[in-house]
């Protein structure tokens, strides 16, 4: 019964989100572009407006008991540019991170950033096209990322390359760490927890949990980009994985007896 009531609420939130994205792409972005000529200024104005919209959206999600977004109060990000590397359990982590921090540019998959309906708003906020990675393409994404960091922005990368598998994490690619090394900026690992799991890769909207989802951001202390990018990626991945398993052991007891949960119970 509750599921029957839940589905329209989830649909309304999705309609609000995507409708808002299209509205911003077609009505807000051209207005901002007219008023602000400087590309960096234009991007920051766009980001501020989108951040406010995300906060309103989160307020709607909270009011409808769909989702609560929480950020570790004690943890602060460095003031200057840095590379944020986060695990990616849910589609909502992106809005949570972008709503919580100033001037963050994200590396975005081509399916989103090149979308004709809502792609313009993603591009207007200075987010970076990850490209298809075919052949030798990819230099443009790297150059754009370094440029954003030079301009003082923070860069958000999901080093797993796609959303995390249920109650787990994929191996980290070294791209984000190589960018941090080349830009000489610190890496800030960010643990994202989503309990119960929601909006994972391939999950249909009607499978949305019946209880309010708690999406929490836990930024970790900054790590200096030292050593090779491969060793740095491995080190940060191992540390984040350990913390992630720690939260699973506490939060997820029985329902998802996943490999990760079993591992955390039997660390043989």
């Amino acid at each position: 019964m509750r599921r029957l009531v839940r589905a329209p609420v989830v649909l309304s939130a999705l309609a609000l989100f995507w409708g808002g994205a299209i509205f911003f792409a077609w009505f807000v972005v051209p207005f901002v572009a007219l008023r602000h000529r400087d590309p960096v200024e234009r991007r920051r104005v766009g980001q501020r407006l989108v951040r406010r919209a995300f906060r309103l959206f989160h307020a709607y999600a909270r009011a409808t008991e769909l989702m609560e977004v929480e950020v570790d109060a004690g943890a602060r990000l460095p003031d200057g540019p840095c590379v944020l590397v986060a695990n990616h359990p849910s589609l909502a982590d992106v809005t949570a991170i972008l709503a919580s921090y100033d001037d963050v540019c994200c590396v975005v998959g081509p399916a989103y950033i090149r979308n004709p309906l809502f792609g313009p708003v993603i591009r207007a906020c200075g987010h970076i096209d990850a490209g298809t990675g075919e052949g030798l393409s990819g230099a443009q994404a790297l150059e754009a990322a370094l440029q954003r960091l030079r301009e003082g922005s923070k860069l958000l990368v999901f080093p797993e390359g796609t959303r995390s598998p249920p109650a787990g994490m994929r191996a980290f690619r070294r791209g984000a760490f190589e960018i941090a090394k080349r830009a000489r900026v610190p890496v800030v690992p960010m643990l994202v927890t989503c309990t119960p799991p929601a909006l994972a890769k391939g999950a249909p909207f009607w499978s949305y949990p019946e209880v309010a989802v708690r999406l929490a951001l836990h930024p970790q202390p900054a790590v200096l980009a030292e050593g090779t990018s491969r060793s740095l990626a491995r080190r940060v991945e191992a540390d984040l994985r350990q913390r992630f398993l720690g939260t699973l052991a506490v939060v997820l007891a029985a329902p998802a007896a996943t490999e990760s949960a079993r591992l955390s119970e039997n660390p043989s």
Partner: protein, 83 residues
């Protein structure tokens, strides 16, 4: 006129130290990712060095089609021919 052989020799000299490869493994048919074990960052670095060699920007759509050492040679020769 620079030949394919000369370009291959040039690429060997460039790629062997850059990616810690055996120069003998750098042959025309070698696939960059599958045979030479380059990852995405390596391929970006290679593309950037290619742009330095030819002294100009190589179109992203052209770079997307590069799979083998032979493809790299083709792009370098094409860009030099056009210059």
């Amino acid at each position: 006129m620079i030949t394919r052989e000369q370009t291959l020799a040039e690429l060997r000299a460039l790629m062997a130290p850059m990616f810690e490869l055996d120069p003998a493994a750098i042959v025309v048919e070698a696939r960059l990712v599958d045979d030479l074990d380059l990852d995405s960052i390596d391929t970006i670095d290679l593309a950037m060095r290619m742009q330095e060699i030819v002294g100009g920007r190589i179109d992203e759509s052209r770079l997307r089609k590069v799979r083998t050492v032979g493809d790299v040679i083709d792009v370098v020769l094409e860009m030099r021919g056009a210059a």
